[in-house]
Symmetry: C2
Subunit: 122 residues, 2 copies
DNA sequence: TCAAGTACCGACAAAAATGTAAGCCACCCA
DNA sequence: TGGGTGGCTTACATTTTTGTCGGTACTTGA
């Protein structure tokens, strides 16, 4: 256990970092422009606050977004993409392109399991 | 609902196709060489037969792998990668590279949720 | 006849991811 | 004093995903 198999590519770590229902979308938004909590909430209306904060925290822990608190009044927290996040974003471009090109083959629904992993407008 | 948001990249469809715990690993194996059911079971020992067949079926439905039955005795079923699958594979290369390069920053564990999405030796 | 191999199917259950709803704290405005 | 905003936190429930285990149909070999 914990042992890597000899034939491993780097997809495991990568999918851990952008996998799930929201991360890619959030990275995409934050990449377009830094945004504050409430702003992201508006940009991605279907996400719950719990998920939003949770994903943001994980992305911060993974070093792909940066969180900055401005001790103003009213309080302001801004999330921005890091260098590391930009690299990830670039690495995602070909994949996004593939998805875009070939979206809509057996589209509409895939095979009845379209909700938990990456739905929305990604 | 079901309406696409104006600012959508192609990651949604793509992540539906290779997201989850096993698909990337399976695609990776099948890409290296066509393989039969039992062979894949041996190559990816931790997957259950149910998951194996389920993922293979979905990947077949998504057009990234091809399933061919040889009416021999004993029966033989071979899974191979399609053109479409190869394109996906290529689109995954940068992501894999990113993951490989940066695996092991806060590694060992990410943030306590390392099992369901892409674990193993990807 | 019995065991073993191949490629599955399907009921059920555990685990993981996501959602809901309520509340907290600090501050402003009226 | 009450209500509103911003950025959260927490407990609990639901949905999705994955796993376990047993069974099927066929055939070869002992």
């Amino acid at each position: 256990m914990g042992k890597k198999q000899p034939d491993s590519c780097g997809l495991g770590p990568a999918l851990e970092v952008i996998g799930g229902k929201w991360k890619a979308l959030l990275l995409w938004q934050i990449h377009k422009a830094p945004a504050r909590f409430g702003e992201l909430k508006r940009l991605v209306p279907d996400i719950s606050e719990k998920m939003l904060i949770q994903q943001l925290r994980e992305m911060e822990a993974d070093g792909i977004v940066h969180r900055e608190v401005f001790p103003e009044v009213p309080p302001r927290v801004e999330y921005s993409i890091t260098e590391f996040g930009i690299e990830l974003d670039n690495a995602l471009i070909p994949l996004a392109r593939w998805g875009k090109q070939h979206a809509g083959r057996s589209d509409g629904q895939g095979h009845g399991k379209a909700s938990a992993l990456a739905p929305q407008g990604l």
